[in-house]
Amino acid sequence: METAALVVVLVIALALFFDFTNGFHDTANAMATPIATGALKPKTAVLLAAVLNLVGAFLSTEVAKTVSGGIVNEADIPHDLLPQLIFAGLIGAITWNMLTWLLGLPSSSSHALFGGLIGATLVGFGLAGINFGVVLSKVVLPALIAPLTAGLIAFAATKVAYGITRRYDGKPDGRSGFRWGQIFTSSMVALAHGTNDAQKTMGVITLALITVGWQTGDPGSEDFHNPEFWVIVACAFTIALGTYLGGWRIIRTLGKGLTEVKPAQGFAAESSTAATILASSAFGFALSTTQVASGSVIGSGLGRRGSVVRWRTAGRIAIGWLLTLPAAAAVGAFAALFVVWFDGWGVAIDAVIALVVIVGLFLRSRKNAVTSANAMSDVAESGHVVDLPDVPGPTRRTSRIELMRALERAERKADEAERAARRAKKLKKAGGTPGEIKAARKAADRAARKYAEAEQASQEWEALSASRRARAQLAEWDLAIDDQEGAR
């Protein structure tokens, strides 16, 4: 029992460290778009993100209940073995997180955590230890569906934002006002992040506490899997601290990827991210906030006129996401092997591995050499998925309005030309001076020229509507050629 208690203490320490790295890693994701559009100063954004992560962690416990009372069949696994497996799982998650961070691969802290837990339980206890129904319905399916949902919602929200504020008279549209709004929507993303991500660590700690009987309450009651208050407070403050200290990366990492995000688009993307995560948290779905935020950035990019998807970049990101869970499971399983082979000594070996990983992470973070390969925000990476034209083509309504204007102008100029020609003829008949006749003829010629120009403009506007599809196709071909050349 003493060994189990000691392991639980180690699990709590390691889980809190994981929580810290989660906040550290995800600050950039929560605050990427408002900084990119200039809605917030980086320092303000980081502080705001930390405070709201703290508040968000207190809002709901549904995700924590999913983690502590659903993924692993804790009743079937021996209570002295489970804390060791959780410990091995956490090592798998942290190691995979660190590896992807160093290699600059897109990853998700949440999926690394679940992968590590699942892998360690599979090796340490077997298939019966995993509740596959909960894993599928609360982890795997939300992981696949949530980024798509967020993308679709962001697409619709971007269309709405641009549609409502669009002006056809060329006067200011006030869209820079979306920067004010971004302060609130990015705050909501930080709040949602605290609500979903801090709870995962709470769930892991609660699961460990249950195994050694430190969890208070009636084991048969529904609220038994609710985290203890001190667990909520510890996780909330740890993720907030990680978020605050992780802020230094933001200033350096946002140079690429999100430069084309406009305030209206960023506002729509953040609204979508926050709404998706908050709604999912209420249902206990353990999402990856990184993936949801990335889905929103891509969806909102596609919501802008003339945008084209770079499928190669999108594919690379998707593969990174799909790999996270099994890869972290493999590392977790490897750590669990030591527990299976050497029991208590196995935990000690794992603890040494954890220490090496943590020290490595610390040393790496001390280095200031930040390149696009190792310090890119995962959300910023998704900014490359959509290619946007510098000047988007006119909307259908603009084309229609311009066509009408050109036709009206052509009609007016035709009238003017006719009037001027009649006047010249009249002057000639009435015996006007040569100067007067010449001037009237010149006016007639000028009006005829203007008429021809207006007529041509109207034809061009008409042709533009028809060629819109063709131009989009050409842009796609250009991108494909760029991709092929890049691959070579």
Binding site: A150, T165, A275
Partner: protein, 111 residues
Amino acid sequence: MTVVIDWGAFFSVFVAALIGAVAVVSLYALGLRMLVRAGRVPVVTPAEFTDAITVLSEKEIRHASKQAAKAARKSPLTAGQRNLAFIAAIGCFVLCGAAVLGGIMIIVIGH
């Protein structure tokens, strides 16, 4: 082993998030539109020009402010209509905030 998947929950999340996000974005955008109509075109400069920001240069901001002032001067609306548009804009922003708070309250109280 039977795996029961609650597809209804996924659908509920999608609908709730869609309604929430689109309502917030629509109300805020409508508020901005009303502000523009009231002759108070917002020209919000970036908080800080980090390397990443290429959205507006100082010259572009001056130009945008000038254009906004010109548009306000040339507004065809009467003073009363402009005041009404301004009140409508504030109303939209307040509703937008209320929608956000309402969403959070549902999550907190619901659990």
